[in-house]
């Protein structure tokens, strides 16, 4: 007891001058668990900046929007939080996020031109920049090279067009062995929109222009693959993670999903798995891919804007290690030295160039809901793809205008 008191006294004496710097507390909400991105980064930051204390709180991904809105209403909002990228516009449009552009203009670390167009669009609302991406992800086509060889296909030439994808799936499907040609997710959730929108964008459409010939062709192809049992009917209810589980188990020869699958896949999949860019409608067509992952944002009513931005700067400045340490793709133009899974990284890095944001729109949940409804009612045969998309367009036009 006495020893501790003396020690504490001495420490205070020695550390005295350092305390001249003001103590700062930052509240940070994250979807991570201890040991993941925000926890690791916050610990490093606190070690380097003893005057800053960061209080972390884990919020479930699906609860983040609800909890954040409630906390803002009751005045308990954190200073900094993670938000999934399509939700930034929702909060920014209501003036709940701090515009970072004046800080970025002064910053030596953040240069807007370095941020890839997709992630940049996701944090931009009207004239402001309301967040910094912590990383990114996107989707591509994983395939089982062993099954390619067994079916007489060239594992070095994965399908590059929609037609080729369909034919390859047909060749690889083997009902006797319980193998589907392809797996993806058409779930009635944000994941369904996430997987479907790139197909629409490749044909020139987008979320606000969904009733196009290209979108209809994409939806028809999805439907055909499920109707002909090239993909499991459970595609309608499986998440991307679950769909990829069937690929890892050898029950699907190809799967469309993102880089977050790699750690599990390299453990579970005892075959030669590879990754290719998403196939395009026809040779030479425009490429598109989904943009996932979220952003670090500062709440508008923070009482520590400078300290909060300093931490965001620190997070952004470590973009070159997010792939190796946390499994995200960099959202800005940085050089990743000695990446893990180099072949997969090369494909995803290229795919990032085509990653397009969902929205941005403050009404994104309703837009996404309309797209999910269209996908599901077409795939279950309740509506033709054309009718389903036309109905979605009506809803979306109402929301957007």
């Amino acid at each position: 007891m006495t020893i501790r008191t003396i020690l504490a006294g001495t420490t205070a004496l020695i550390a005295g001058p350092a305390f001249a710097q003001e103590q700062v507390e930052l509240d940070l909400w994250t979807i991570d668990d201890p040991g993941e991105y925000h926890y690791v980064m916050a610990e490093e930051y606190m070690a380097a900046n003893p005057n800053v204390t960061i209080n972390l709180r884990t919020v479930q991904f699906q609860d983040m929007v609800n909890d954040l809105a409630r906390s803002i209403a009751t005045g308990d909002a954190p200073d900094i939080t993670y938000i999934d990228n399509p939700e930034v516009a929702l909060f920014a449009s209501r003036g709940m996020l701090m515009d970072l552009s004046p800080y970025i203009a002064e910053s030596d670390v953040v240069n807007v031109d370095d941020i890839f167009p997709g992630p940049l669009a996701s944090v931009t609302y009207e004239d402001g920049i309301y967040g910094l991406p912590r990383g990114a992800n996107t989707i591509a086509l994983y395939y089982n090279a062993d099954l390619f060889r067994a079916a007489g296909l060239d594992p070095d030439a994965p399908p590059t067009t929609w037609d080729a994808l369909y034919e390859t799936a047909q060749t690889l499907t083997n009902p006797d062995e319980n193998i589907y040609g392809i797996a993806f997710s058409a779930k009635n959730s944000e994941e369904g929109t996430f997987q479907f929108l790139p197909w629409v964008q490749m044909t020139g459409g987008n979320f606000d222009n969904i009733a196009t010939d290209g979108a209809e062709r994409a939806l028809n192809l999805w439907k055909q693959m499920i109707d002909e049992r090239l993909a499991s009917p459970d595609t309608l209810i499986r998440s991307q993670w679950d769909s990829t589980g069937t690929f890892n188990a050898g029950s699907a020869a190809m799967v469309i999903s993102g880089p977050w699958e790699i750690p599990r896949m390299s453990q579970d999949a005892d075959f030669d798995w590879r990754v290719a860019l998403l196939p395009v409608p026809e040779e030479g067509a425009e490429r598109a891919s989904a943009l996932g992952e979220g952003d670090n944002v500062i709440l508008a009513n923070t009482d520590q804007p400078d300290a909060a931005f300093a931490f965001l700067e620190f997070l952004y400045g470590d973009m070159d290690r997010v792939w190796n340490d946390f499994g995200y793709l960099p959202a800005s133009n940085v050089e990743v030295v000695d990446p893990k899974y180099p072949e997969a990284y090369a494909v995803f890095e290229e795919s990032m160039k085509y990653a397009r944001t969902r929205g941005p729109s403050p009404e994104w949940p309703r837009i996404s809901g309309a797209i999910q409804t269209a996908i599901q009612s077409a795939l279950t045969g309740q509506q033709t793809p054309a009718d389903a998309l036309a109905e979605a367009q009506d809803t979306i036009s109402d929301v957007v205008n």
Binding site: A69, I237, Q376, T380
Partner: protein, 300 residues
């Protein structure tokens, strides 16, 4: 002061206190949320105005939107099918089991207790278990059906919109049967044996005894079990969340799940509230039946 303490001692003050504790609890945790819910159903509410009372009133717009929605027909129909089939099957199987365990055989009470295990499991756990059983490609049920040669093709219980509602009903019946059985068992053991013995001496057969003694004497219990069954079934949310999320394409969506979707996924909280108000009206009707059917018990 002496008056208060004596009234406390002789019980009247104490009685009042107990009543007020209960009343306060009900007002804070039942009446207030109910009234607040009704209020929100007439307002335009989104996530950001949830905590303030100052919101634009929109009259009956929320109800109009909800009732004219293209999904309304199928959701209302699903709700009715879900409630009727679940309650009917729970009652028939539960009553059958209650009668079965009423026969005195070794281990009857013990086995009856075991049945409750299903009922105390959280809905999400039950949902997870059933989603493995009902899975299309690797489900246990499909394996059994195919091994027994009952079906050639896999049945996609959860992802085929013609099956998905019935899959949730199967799981819900499984959850509800033990509760029905226990409640009806209590009623059955309250019927004195000599009534049956007298009837048997008079030459009444098993079926006749069931129809003329068991059923009439069980009327109150049956009424209670049916009304509680309807209320529990209208509350059933976890199974939908765990099994089908109301899908595919609203194929298994019911009003309670839809209300949640509107409020917490689309953030149209006013409309979500309108749906739950419509459900409250139904539940009040059912609760009235429940109160009527149990009133005799208190009189007795």
């Amino acid at each position: 002061m002496p008056a208060t303490s004596s009234s406390f001692r002789d019980g009247r003050g104490f009685d009042r206190m107990l009543v007020w504790i209960t009343l306060t609890f009900l007002i804070v945790f039942s009446a207030f949320p109910l009234a607040y819910n009704i209020l929100m159903s007439f307002q335009s509410v989104d996530l950001f105005t949830l905590a303030s009372f100052d919101r634009p009133f929109v009259g009956l717009d929320n109800y109009k939107e909800v009732l004219t929605n293209s999904a309304t027909d199928i959701i209302v129909k699903n709700t009715i099918v879900f409630v009727l089939l679940s309650v009917a099957a729970q009652l028939v199987i539960g009553f059958g089991l209650a009668l079965f365990f009423q026969q005195r055989f070794p281990g009857a009470t013990w086995l009856r207790g075991l049945f409750l295990a299903g009922w105390i499991l959280p809905g999400l756990v039950v949902g997870a278990v059933w989603s493995w059983i009902l899975a299309g490609d690797f489900g246990v049920l499909n394996w059994v059906l195919q091994t027994l040669g009952l079906t050639d093709d896999k049945i996609f219980w959860l992802s085929d919109p013609t099956n998905s509602l019935y899959s949730v009903i199967i799981a819900n019946v499984w959850i509800g049967v033990p509760f029905n059985m226990i409640l009806l068992s209590v009623g059955l053991s309250a019927i004195p044996d000599d009534v049956y013995e007298a009837a048997e001496l008079d030459g009444a057969g098993r079926v006749w005894r069931f129809l003329t003694i068991t059923l009439p004497l069980m009327r109150a219990q049956l009424g209670a079990v049916i009304s509680l069954g309807i209320i529990f079934t209208l509350q059933q949310f976890d199974l939908f969340a765990a099994l089908t999320q109301g899908g595919p394409s609203n194929g298994s969506n019911v009003m309670q799940y839809w209300s949640w979707e509107l409020s917490f996924q689309d953030y149209r909280i006013g409309q979500g509230s309108a749906v739950s108000v419509l459900m409250i009206i139904v539940v009040i009707g059912v609760a009235a039946i429940y109160v009527r059917s149990t009133r005799h018990e208190h009189a007795a």
